[in-house]
Symmetry: C2
Subunit: 266 residues, 2 copies
Amino acid sequence: MVLAPVADAADRDGRAGHVVRATTHPAYANMVGPFGGITAATVVNGIQQHPDVLGEPLSLTINYVAPIAYGEWDLELDPVRTNRTNQHWVFTISQEGDAVATGTAVFAVVRDTWADIEATPPQAPPADEVEPSDFVDFIEWAKQYDKRFVVGGLSEDGSDDSTSTLWLRDEPARPIDFPALASMTDCFFPRIFLRHGAYMPAGTISLTVYFHATSGELAAHGTDHVLATARGVRFGHGHFDQYGQIWSGDTLLATTHQLVYYKDPA
Amino acid sequence: MVLAPVADAADRDGRAGHVVRATTHPAYANMVGPFGGITAATVVNGIQQHPDVLGEPLSLTINYVAPIAYGEWDLELDPVRTNRTNQHWVFTISQEGDAVATGTAVFAVVRDTWADIEATPPQAPPADEVEPSDFVDFIEWAKQYDKRFVVGGLSEDGSDDSTSTLWLRDEPARPIDFPALASMTDCFFPRIFLRHGAYMPAGTISLTVYFHATSGELAAHGTDHVLATARGVRFGHGHFDQYGQIWSGDTLLATTHQLVYYKDPA
Protein backbone atom coordinates (compact mmCIF):
# COMPACT_ATOMS: atom_id res chain seq x y z
CA MET A 1 0.00 0.00 0.00
CA VAL A 2 1.18 3.50 -0.75
CA LEU A 3 -0.09 6.23 1.51
CA ALA A 4 -0.33 9.89 0.61
CA PRO A 5 -2.49 12.67 2.05
CA VAL A 6 -4.73 13.91 -0.76
CA ALA A 7 -7.06 16.50 0.65
CA ASP A 8 -8.70 17.92 3.69
CA ALA A 9 -12.44 17.55 3.94
CA ALA A 10 -14.96 19.05 6.34
CA ASP A 11 -17.31 16.60 8.00
CA ARG A 12 -20.93 17.25 8.87
CA ASP A 13 -20.08 18.94 12.16
CA GLY A 14 -17.57 21.23 10.56
CA ARG A 15 -14.58 19.48 12.15
CA ALA A 16 -11.49 19.24 9.98
CA GLY A 17 -11.43 15.92 8.16
CA HIS A 18 -8.32 14.31 6.73
CA VAL A 19 -8.19 12.02 3.71
CA VAL A 20 -5.33 9.72 2.82
CA ARG A 21 -5.10 7.87 -0.47
CA ALA A 22 -3.83 4.29 -0.54
CA THR A 23 -3.24 1.90 -3.41
CA THR A 24 -3.67 -1.86 -3.13
CA HIS A 25 -0.58 -3.95 -3.81
CA PRO A 26 -0.73 -7.21 -5.79
CA ALA A 27 1.55 -8.93 -3.27
CA TYR A 28 -1.30 -8.77 -0.72
CA ALA A 29 -4.13 -9.97 -2.98
CA ASN A 30 -6.61 -12.41 -1.46
CA MET A 31 -9.21 -14.56 -3.23
CA VAL A 32 -11.62 -11.61 -3.65
CA GLY A 33 -9.96 -8.22 -3.23
CA PRO A 34 -7.00 -7.39 -0.99
CA PHE A 35 -6.17 -9.30 2.23
CA GLY A 36 -8.14 -7.75 5.11
CA GLY A 37 -5.08 -7.70 7.37
CA ILE A 38 -3.18 -5.36 5.08
CA THR A 39 -6.17 -3.03 4.91
CA ALA A 40 -6.28 -2.90 8.72
CA ALA A 41 -2.51 -2.30 8.77
CA THR A 42 -2.89 0.61 6.36
CA VAL A 43 -5.49 2.24 8.61
CA VAL A 44 -3.15 1.97 11.60
CA ASN A 45 -0.33 3.45 9.53
CA GLY A 46 -2.60 6.24 8.30
CA ILE A 47 -3.54 7.24 11.85
CA GLN A 48 0.08 7.05 13.00
CA GLN A 49 1.00 9.54 10.27
CA HIS A 50 -1.84 11.95 11.12
CA PRO A 51 -0.41 15.28 12.37
CA ASP A 52 -2.64 15.27 15.48
CA VAL A 53 -2.03 11.68 16.58
CA LEU A 54 -1.69 11.06 20.34
CA GLY A 55 0.30 8.11 21.69
CA GLU A 56 0.27 4.56 20.35
CA PRO A 57 -2.39 2.21 18.91
CA LEU A 58 -4.59 0.66 21.61
CA SER A 59 -7.61 -0.75 19.77
CA LEU A 60 -8.95 -1.06 16.25
CA THR A 61 -12.26 -2.31 14.88
CA ILE A 62 -12.66 -2.51 11.12
CA ASN A 63 -15.83 -3.66 9.37
CA TYR A 64 -15.47 -4.92 5.81
CA VAL A 65 -18.60 -3.45 4.29
CA ALA A 66 -18.19 -4.38 0.63
CA PRO A 67 -15.49 -5.98 -1.56
CA ILE A 68 -12.52 -3.65 -2.11
CA ALA A 69 -11.53 -3.36 -5.76
CA TYR A 70 -7.85 -3.42 -6.69
CA GLY A 71 -6.58 0.11 -7.18
CA GLU A 72 -6.86 3.30 -5.17
CA TRP A 73 -8.94 3.90 -2.10
CA ASP A 74 -9.51 6.87 0.18
CA LEU A 75 -9.22 6.73 3.95
CA GLU A 76 -11.07 9.47 5.76
CA LEU A 77 -9.80 9.91 9.32
CA ASP A 78 -11.71 11.80 11.99
CA PRO A 79 -10.08 12.29 15.42
CA VAL A 80 -13.45 12.53 17.16
CA ARG A 81 -12.12 13.25 20.62
CA THR A 82 -8.75 13.67 22.29
CA ASN A 83 -8.77 13.07 26.04
CA ARG A 84 -5.86 13.47 28.45
CA THR A 85 -4.52 9.95 27.94
CA ASN A 86 -6.39 8.62 24.89
CA GLN A 87 -7.74 9.61 21.50
CA HIS A 88 -10.78 8.27 19.65
CA TRP A 89 -10.90 7.89 15.88
CA VAL A 90 -13.64 7.14 13.36
CA PHE A 91 -12.68 6.18 9.82
CA THR A 92 -14.23 5.32 6.48
CA ILE A 93 -12.56 3.72 3.49
CA SER A 94 -14.28 4.55 0.22
CA GLN A 95 -13.90 3.85 -3.48
CA GLU A 96 -15.71 5.90 -6.09
CA GLY A 97 -17.57 7.59 -3.24
CA ASP A 98 -18.99 4.37 -1.77
CA ALA A 99 -17.97 3.11 1.67
CA VAL A 100 -16.14 -0.22 1.47
CA ALA A 101 -14.93 -0.33 5.09
CA THR A 102 -15.78 1.55 8.28
CA GLY A 103 -14.38 1.49 11.77
CA THR A 104 -13.09 3.03 14.93
CA ALA A 105 -9.74 3.13 16.68
CA VAL A 106 -8.34 4.25 20.01
CA PHE A 107 -4.80 5.46 20.54
CA ALA A 108 -3.35 6.07 24.01
CA VAL A 109 -0.41 7.43 25.89
CA VAL A 110 1.67 4.64 27.48
CA ARG A 111 1.27 4.97 31.25
CA ASP A 112 3.18 3.08 33.93
CA THR A 113 0.78 1.10 36.16
CA TRP A 114 0.42 -2.19 37.98
CA ALA A 115 0.69 -4.95 35.41
CA ASP A 116 0.26 -8.70 34.95
CA ILE A 117 -0.14 -11.20 32.14
CA GLU A 118 -2.51 -13.90 33.35
CA ALA A 119 -2.37 -16.25 30.41
CA THR A 120 0.60 -18.23 29.15
CA PRO A 121 1.56 -18.81 25.52
CA PRO A 122 0.54 -22.14 23.95
CA GLN A 123 3.04 -25.00 24.06
CA ALA A 124 5.21 -25.06 20.96
CA PRO A 125 8.65 -26.33 19.88
CA PRO A 126 11.07 -23.59 18.75
CA ALA A 127 10.26 -22.02 15.37
CA ASP A 128 13.35 -23.46 13.71
CA GLU A 129 12.19 -26.98 14.57
CA VAL A 130 8.85 -26.55 12.76
CA GLU A 131 8.56 -26.86 8.97
CA PRO A 132 7.28 -23.81 7.09
CA SER A 133 4.17 -24.42 5.00
CA ASP A 134 2.44 -22.71 2.10
CA PHE A 135 -1.21 -22.08 1.37
CA VAL A 136 -2.47 -22.77 -2.15
CA ASP A 137 -0.68 -20.84 -4.84
CA PHE A 138 -3.50 -18.41 -5.68
CA ILE A 139 -3.49 -16.81 -2.20
CA GLU A 140 -0.82 -14.19 -2.84
CA TRP A 141 -0.78 -12.50 0.57
CA ALA A 142 0.13 -15.73 2.34
CA LYS A 143 3.46 -15.77 0.47
CA GLN A 144 4.41 -12.59 2.36
CA TYR A 145 4.47 -14.55 5.64
CA ASP A 146 6.64 -17.34 6.96
CA LYS A 147 4.07 -19.71 8.56
CA ARG A 148 5.03 -22.69 10.70
CA PHE A 149 2.00 -24.55 12.03
CA VAL A 150 2.36 -26.26 15.40
CA VAL A 151 -1.28 -27.41 15.32
CA GLY A 152 -4.19 -26.79 12.97
CA GLY A 153 -2.52 -26.41 9.59
CA LEU A 154 -4.58 -26.74 6.42
CA SER A 155 -5.26 -30.37 5.57
CA GLU A 156 -7.91 -32.36 3.72
CA ASP A 157 -8.81 -34.31 6.84
CA GLY A 158 -10.94 -31.69 8.55
CA SER A 159 -10.97 -31.40 12.35
CA ASP A 160 -13.38 -31.18 15.28
CA ASP A 161 -11.15 -28.49 16.79
CA SER A 162 -10.70 -25.18 14.98
CA THR A 163 -7.56 -24.22 16.90
CA SER A 164 -4.50 -23.16 14.92
CA THR A 165 -1.20 -22.31 16.58
CA LEU A 166 1.67 -21.17 14.39
CA TRP A 167 4.97 -19.35 14.30
CA LEU A 168 4.55 -16.33 12.07
CA ARG A 169 6.71 -13.55 10.70
CA ASP A 170 6.89 -11.29 7.67
CA GLU A 171 8.69 -12.80 4.65
CA PRO A 172 11.25 -11.41 4.06
CA ALA A 173 11.87 -10.78 7.76
CA ARG A 174 11.45 -7.19 8.93
CA PRO A 175 11.11 -5.61 12.39
CA ILE A 176 7.55 -5.88 13.70
CA ASP A 177 5.60 -2.64 14.13
CA PHE A 178 1.96 -1.83 14.89
CA PRO A 179 0.73 -2.10 11.29
CA ALA A 180 2.50 -5.46 10.92
CA LEU A 181 0.97 -6.67 14.20
CA ALA A 182 -2.50 -5.59 13.07
CA SER A 183 -2.09 -7.52 9.84
CA MET A 184 -0.87 -10.63 11.66
CA THR A 185 -4.08 -10.83 13.68
CA ASP A 186 -5.87 -11.57 10.40
CA CYS A 187 -3.32 -14.15 9.18
CA PHE A 188 -5.31 -17.17 10.35
CA PHE A 189 -7.13 -18.71 7.38
CA PRO A 190 -10.89 -19.00 8.02
CA ARG A 191 -11.57 -21.55 10.78
CA ILE A 192 -14.29 -23.13 8.66
CA PHE A 193 -11.57 -24.39 6.25
CA LEU A 194 -9.96 -26.24 9.16
CA ARG A 195 -13.25 -27.76 10.35
CA HIS A 196 -14.14 -29.05 6.87
CA GLY A 197 -10.69 -29.66 5.40
CA ALA A 198 -11.74 -27.63 2.37
CA TYR A 199 -11.73 -24.12 0.97
CA MET A 200 -15.17 -22.53 1.08
CA PRO A 201 -16.51 -19.06 0.38
CA ALA A 202 -15.69 -17.10 3.56
CA GLY A 203 -14.63 -13.59 4.54
CA THR A 204 -14.11 -11.42 7.59
CA ILE A 205 -17.00 -9.07 8.37
CA SER A 206 -15.61 -7.38 11.48
CA LEU A 207 -12.12 -7.48 12.99
CA THR A 208 -11.17 -6.11 16.41
CA VAL A 209 -7.58 -5.87 17.64
CA TYR A 210 -6.40 -4.82 21.10
CA PHE A 211 -2.75 -3.77 21.02
CA HIS A 212 -1.33 -4.72 24.40
CA ALA A 213 2.25 -4.20 23.20
CA THR A 214 4.10 -0.93 23.52
CA SER A 215 6.43 0.32 20.79
CA GLY A 216 9.29 -0.58 23.14
CA GLU A 217 8.14 -4.20 23.33
CA LEU A 218 7.82 -4.38 19.55
CA ALA A 219 11.34 -2.99 19.16
CA ALA A 220 12.61 -5.61 21.62
CA HIS A 221 10.86 -8.35 19.62
CA GLY A 222 12.58 -7.30 16.41
CA THR A 223 12.39 -9.68 13.43
CA ASP A 224 11.67 -12.93 15.28
CA HIS A 225 8.60 -15.07 14.70
CA VAL A 226 5.58 -14.36 16.90
CA LEU A 227 3.55 -17.27 18.23
CA ALA A 228 -0.05 -16.87 17.06
CA THR A 229 -3.07 -18.88 18.17
CA ALA A 230 -6.75 -18.67 17.27
CA ARG A 231 -9.98 -20.64 17.62
CA GLY A 232 -13.62 -20.36 16.59
CA VAL A 233 -16.24 -21.10 19.21
CA ARG A 234 -19.62 -21.08 17.47
CA PHE A 235 -20.35 -21.76 13.80
CA GLY A 236 -23.92 -21.26 12.64
CA HIS A 237 -26.31 -19.34 10.42
CA GLY A 238 -23.48 -18.48 8.06
CA HIS A 239 -21.15 -16.86 10.62
CA PHE A 240 -18.49 -17.80 13.13
CA ASP A 241 -16.33 -15.95 15.64
CA GLN A 242 -12.57 -16.27 16.05
CA TYR A 243 -10.64 -15.32 19.19
CA GLY A 244 -6.87 -15.10 18.94
CA GLN A 245 -3.67 -14.10 20.73
CA ILE A 246 -0.24 -13.03 19.42
CA TRP A 247 2.75 -13.73 21.67
CA SER A 248 6.39 -12.63 21.82
CA GLY A 249 7.91 -15.10 24.27
CA ASP A 250 5.92 -14.62 27.49
CA THR A 251 4.69 -11.19 26.40
CA LEU A 252 1.17 -11.00 24.98
CA LEU A 253 1.39 -8.49 22.12
CA ALA A 254 -2.25 -8.49 21.00
CA THR A 255 -5.65 -10.11 21.45
CA THR A 256 -8.14 -10.23 18.61
CA HIS A 257 -11.76 -11.14 17.97
CA GLN A 258 -13.28 -11.41 14.52
CA LEU A 259 -16.60 -12.35 12.95
CA VAL A 260 -16.50 -14.25 9.67
CA TYR A 261 -19.10 -14.90 6.99
CA TYR A 262 -19.26 -18.31 5.34
CA LYS A 263 -21.39 -20.09 2.80
CA ASP A 264 -21.88 -23.83 2.71
CA PRO A 265 -20.19 -25.42 -0.32
CA ALA A 266 -22.77 -26.27 -2.99
CA MET B 1 -34.02 4.76 28.38
CA VAL B 2 -36.80 6.30 26.33
CA LEU B 3 -36.39 6.24 22.58
CA ALA B 4 -38.07 8.60 20.16
CA PRO B 5 -37.11 9.61 16.62
CA VAL B 6 -36.48 13.36 16.67
CA ALA B 7 -35.29 14.39 13.25
CA ASP B 8 -33.76 13.30 10.00
CA ALA B 9 -30.31 14.64 9.20
CA ALA B 10 -28.25 14.51 6.04
CA ASP B 11 -24.72 13.23 6.40
CA ARG B 12 -21.70 14.40 4.49
CA ASP B 13 -22.43 12.17 1.50
CA GLY B 14 -26.01 13.27 1.26
CA ARG B 15 -27.37 9.94 2.50
CA ALA B 16 -30.43 10.19 4.69
CA GLY B 17 -29.42 10.19 8.35
CA HIS B 18 -31.71 9.23 11.20
CA VAL B 19 -31.54 10.58 14.72
CA VAL B 20 -33.16 9.01 17.76
CA ARG B 21 -33.33 10.70 21.14
CA ALA B 22 -32.80 8.68 24.31
CA THR B 23 -32.94 9.66 27.96
CA THR B 24 -30.78 8.07 30.64
CA HIS B 25 -32.67 6.31 33.44
CA PRO B 26 -31.53 6.59 37.08
CA ALA B 27 -32.05 2.83 37.59
CA TYR B 28 -29.04 2.20 35.31
CA ALA B 29 -26.66 4.77 36.82
CA ASN B 30 -23.05 3.69 37.26
CA MET B 31 -20.30 5.38 39.29
CA VAL B 32 -19.71 8.04 36.62
CA GLY B 33 -22.56 8.37 34.11
CA PRO B 34 -24.88 5.59 32.93
CA PHE B 35 -23.92 1.90 32.82
CA GLY B 36 -22.21 1.19 29.48
CA GLY B 37 -24.26 -1.96 28.93
CA ILE B 38 -27.54 -0.05 28.87
CA THR B 39 -26.09 2.43 26.38
CA ALA B 40 -25.10 -0.46 24.10
CA ALA B 41 -28.57 -1.98 24.55
CA THR B 42 -30.19 1.31 23.54
CA VAL B 43 -28.15 1.42 20.32
CA VAL B 44 -29.26 -2.12 19.43
CA ASN B 45 -32.86 -1.16 20.15
CA GLY B 46 -32.53 2.01 18.09
CA ILE B 47 -31.28 0.07 15.05
CA GLN B 48 -33.98 -2.58 15.47
CA GLN B 49 -36.58 0.20 15.30
CA HIS B 50 -35.06 1.83 12.20
CA PRO B 51 -37.48 1.60 9.25
CA ASP B 52 -34.79 0.18 6.93
CA VAL B 53 -33.41 -2.48 9.28
CA LEU B 54 -32.46 -5.85 7.73
CA GLY B 55 -32.46 -9.05 9.78
CA GLU B 56 -31.17 -9.46 13.33
CA PRO B 57 -28.19 -8.11 15.30
CA LEU B 58 -24.91 -9.87 14.44
CA SER B 59 -22.17 -7.63 15.82
CA LEU B 60 -21.76 -4.39 17.72
CA THR B 61 -18.72 -2.31 18.64
CA ILE B 62 -19.23 0.74 20.82
CA ASN B 63 -16.45 3.08 21.91
CA TYR B 64 -17.07 5.18 25.00
CA VAL B 65 -15.46 8.42 23.92
CA ALA B 66 -16.33 10.71 26.83
CA PRO B 67 -18.44 10.52 30.00
CA ILE B 68 -22.19 10.56 29.22
CA ALA B 69 -24.08 13.11 31.32
CA TYR B 70 -27.42 12.14 32.83
CA GLY B 71 -30.25 13.39 30.67
CA GLU B 72 -30.95 13.29 26.95
CA TRP B 73 -28.66 12.08 24.20
CA ASP B 74 -28.97 11.81 20.44
CA LEU B 75 -28.20 8.64 18.49
CA GLU B 76 -27.42 9.24 14.83
CA LEU B 77 -27.80 6.04 12.80
CA ASP B 78 -26.35 5.61 9.33
CA PRO B 79 -27.10 2.38 7.40
CA VAL B 80 -23.90 2.64 5.39
CA ARG B 81 -24.49 -0.37 3.19
CA THR B 82 -27.14 -3.05 2.78
CA ASN B 83 -25.91 -6.23 1.12
CA ARG B 84 -27.96 -9.29 0.20
CA THR B 85 -27.62 -10.97 3.59
CA ASN B 86 -26.18 -8.28 5.87
CA GLN B 87 -26.35 -4.60 6.68
CA HIS B 88 -23.60 -2.32 8.00
CA TRP B 89 -24.28 0.54 10.41
CA VAL B 90 -22.25 3.46 11.72
CA PHE B 91 -23.51 5.40 14.72
CA THR B 92 -22.64 8.37 16.89
CA ILE B 93 -24.09 9.29 20.27
CA SER B 94 -23.83 12.98 21.03
CA GLN B 95 -24.77 15.40 23.78
CA GLU B 96 -24.82 19.15 23.18
CA GLY B 97 -23.29 18.48 19.76
CA ASP B 98 -20.24 16.62 21.11
CA ALA B 99 -19.65 12.92 20.41
CA VAL B 100 -19.74 10.86 23.60
CA ALA B 101 -19.81 7.42 21.94
CA THR B 102 -19.14 6.08 18.44
CA GLY B 103 -19.43 2.69 16.87
CA THR B 104 -20.43 0.25 14.20
CA ALA B 105 -22.91 -2.60 13.97
CA VAL B 106 -23.76 -5.38 11.57
CA PHE B 107 -27.21 -6.91 11.21
CA ALA B 108 -27.84 -10.05 9.14
CA VAL B 109 -30.51 -12.30 7.77
CA VAL B 110 -30.61 -15.66 9.57
CA ARG B 111 -29.46 -18.31 7.07
CA ASP B 112 -29.54 -22.06 7.53
CA THR B 113 -26.02 -23.54 7.21
CA TRP B 114 -23.75 -26.19 8.67
CA ALA B 115 -23.37 -25.44 12.37
CA ASP B 116 -21.41 -26.47 15.45
CA ILE B 117 -20.64 -25.10 18.90
CA GLU B 118 -17.06 -26.12 19.73
CA ALA B 119 -16.88 -24.87 23.28
CA THR B 120 -18.81 -26.06 26.30
CA PRO B 121 -20.27 -23.89 29.05
CA PRO B 122 -18.29 -23.59 32.30
CA GLN B 123 -19.10 -26.03 35.11
CA ALA B 124 -21.69 -24.60 37.47
CA PRO B 125 -24.30 -25.86 39.94
CA PRO B 126 -27.91 -24.93 39.04
CA ALA B 127 -28.78 -21.25 39.52
CA ASP B 128 -31.20 -21.98 42.39
CA GLU B 129 -28.37 -23.59 44.36
CA VAL B 130 -26.18 -20.46 44.19
CA GLU B 131 -26.75 -17.48 46.49
CA PRO B 132 -27.52 -14.14 44.85
CA SER B 133 -25.12 -11.32 45.73
CA ASP B 134 -25.17 -7.55 45.59
CA PHE B 135 -22.52 -5.04 44.60
CA VAL B 136 -22.02 -2.00 46.81
CA ASP B 137 -25.11 0.11 47.27
CA PHE B 138 -24.04 3.07 45.11
CA ILE B 139 -23.89 1.00 41.91
CA GLU B 140 -27.53 1.38 40.89
CA TRP B 141 -27.47 -0.61 37.64
CA ALA B 142 -26.32 -3.77 39.40
CA LYS B 143 -29.61 -3.83 41.34
CA GLN B 144 -31.41 -4.41 38.01
CA TYR B 145 -29.71 -7.84 37.70
CA ASP B 146 -29.97 -11.03 39.70
CA LYS B 147 -26.30 -12.11 39.99
CA ARG B 148 -25.22 -15.50 41.37
CA PHE B 149 -21.44 -15.94 41.31
CA VAL B 150 -20.11 -19.45 40.83
CA VAL B 151 -16.50 -18.20 40.86
CA GLY B 152 -14.90 -14.76 40.96
CA GLY B 153 -17.35 -12.73 43.02
CA LEU B 154 -16.26 -9.44 44.54
CA SER B 155 -14.21 -9.97 47.70
CA GLU B 156 -11.52 -8.15 49.63
CA ASP B 157 -9.06 -10.99 49.18
CA GLY B 158 -8.01 -10.27 45.62
CA SER B 159 -7.15 -13.11 43.25
CA ASP B 160 -4.46 -14.21 40.80
CA ASP B 161 -7.22 -15.29 38.39
CA SER B 162 -9.57 -12.68 36.94
CA THR B 163 -12.21 -15.24 35.87
CA SER B 164 -15.80 -14.62 36.95
CA THR B 165 -18.58 -17.10 36.17
CA LEU B 166 -22.11 -16.20 37.26
CA TRP B 167 -25.76 -16.89 36.69
CA LEU B 168 -27.35 -13.67 35.48
CA ARG B 169 -30.81 -12.41 34.62
CA ASP B 170 -32.75 -9.16 34.62
CA GLU B 171 -34.35 -8.27 37.95
CA PRO B 172 -37.33 -8.39 37.84
CA ALA B 173 -37.23 -11.32 35.41
CA ARG B 174 -38.20 -10.53 31.82
CA PRO B 175 -37.76 -12.43 28.54
CA ILE B 176 -34.28 -11.94 27.11
CA ASP B 177 -33.98 -10.02 23.83
CA PHE B 178 -31.06 -8.62 21.84
CA PRO B 179 -30.78 -5.35 23.79
CA ALA B 180 -30.87 -7.28 27.09
CA LEU B 181 -28.18 -9.66 25.80
CA ALA B 182 -25.99 -6.73 24.70
CA SER B 183 -26.29 -5.19 28.15
CA MET B 184 -25.44 -8.49 29.88
CA THR B 185 -22.10 -8.68 28.06
CA ASP B 186 -21.07 -5.60 30.06
CA CYS B 187 -22.36 -6.91 33.42
CA PHE B 188 -18.98 -8.18 34.61
CA PHE B 189 -17.50 -5.66 37.04
CA PRO B 190 -13.99 -4.55 35.98
CA ARG B 191 -11.56 -7.49 36.23
CA ILE B 192 -9.04 -5.23 37.98
CA PHE B 193 -11.38 -5.11 41.02
CA LEU B 194 -11.17 -8.89 41.24
CA ARG B 195 -7.38 -8.97 40.94
CA HIS B 196 -6.91 -6.37 43.68
CA GLY B 197 -9.94 -7.06 45.87
CA ALA B 198 -10.73 -3.34 45.72
CA TYR B 199 -12.70 -0.77 43.78
CA MET B 200 -10.48 1.37 41.58
CA PRO B 201 -11.10 4.00 38.90
CA ALA B 202 -11.89 1.93 35.78
CA GLY B 203 -14.16 2.15 32.76
CA THR B 204 -14.81 0.43 29.45
CA ILE B 205 -13.23 2.14 26.43
CA SER B 206 -14.40 -0.24 23.69
CA LEU B 207 -16.95 -3.07 23.80
CA THR B 208 -17.53 -5.61 21.03
CA VAL B 209 -20.39 -8.11 21.06
CA TYR B 210 -21.00 -10.93 18.56
CA PHE B 211 -24.61 -12.08 18.72
CA HIS B 212 -24.53 -15.79 17.90
CA ALA B 213 -28.12 -16.26 19.07
CA THR B 214 -31.12 -15.99 16.80
CA SER B 215 -34.36 -14.40 17.96
CA GLY B 216 -35.80 -17.93 18.06
CA GLU B 217 -33.11 -19.06 20.49
CA LEU B 218 -33.70 -16.02 22.68
CA ALA B 219 -37.45 -16.74 22.72
CA ALA B 220 -36.71 -20.36 23.70
CA HIS B 221 -34.49 -19.13 26.53
CA GLY B 222 -37.24 -16.95 27.97
CA THR B 223 -36.75 -15.53 31.46
CA ASP B 224 -34.18 -18.02 32.80
CA HIS B 225 -30.72 -17.07 34.02
CA VAL B 226 -27.93 -17.10 31.47
CA LEU B 227 -24.51 -18.44 32.48
CA ALA B 228 -21.93 -15.71 31.93
CA THR B 229 -18.16 -16.05 32.12
CA ALA B 230 -15.32 -13.56 31.52
CA ARG B 231 -11.61 -13.18 32.06
CA GLY B 232 -8.88 -10.58 31.49
CA VAL B 233 -5.64 -11.76 29.94
CA ARG B 234 -3.21 -8.84 30.04
CA PHE B 235 -3.20 -5.92 32.46
CA GLY B 236 -0.68 -3.17 31.82
CA HIS B 237 -0.09 0.48 30.96
CA GLY B 238 -3.49 1.38 32.36
CA HIS B 239 -5.56 -1.00 30.22
CA PHE B 240 -6.77 -4.58 30.20
CA ASP B 241 -8.81 -6.77 27.89
CA GLN B 242 -11.78 -8.94 28.86
CA TYR B 243 -13.07 -11.88 26.83
CA GLY B 244 -16.46 -13.32 27.75
CA GLN B 245 -19.18 -15.77 26.76
CA ILE B 246 -22.92 -15.85 27.52
CA TRP B 247 -24.58 -19.28 27.56
CA SER B 248 -28.15 -20.60 27.54
CA GLY B 249 -27.71 -24.26 28.47
CA ASP B 250 -25.42 -25.68 25.77
CA THR B 251 -26.20 -22.82 23.37
CA LEU B 252 -23.65 -20.01 23.14
CA LEU B 253 -25.70 -16.82 22.84
CA ALA B 254 -22.89 -14.28 22.56
CA THR B 255 -19.14 -13.77 22.72
CA THR B 256 -17.68 -10.43 23.79
CA HIS B 257 -14.33 -8.67 23.96
CA GLN B 258 -13.78 -5.37 25.72
CA LEU B 259 -10.92 -3.02 26.51
CA VAL B 260 -10.95 -1.29 29.88
CA TYR B 261 -9.11 1.73 31.26
CA TYR B 262 -7.84 1.67 34.84
CA LYS B 263 -5.88 3.91 37.11
CA ASP B 264 -3.77 2.65 39.98
CA PRO B 265 -5.23 3.62 43.36
CA ALA B 266 -3.32 6.51 44.90
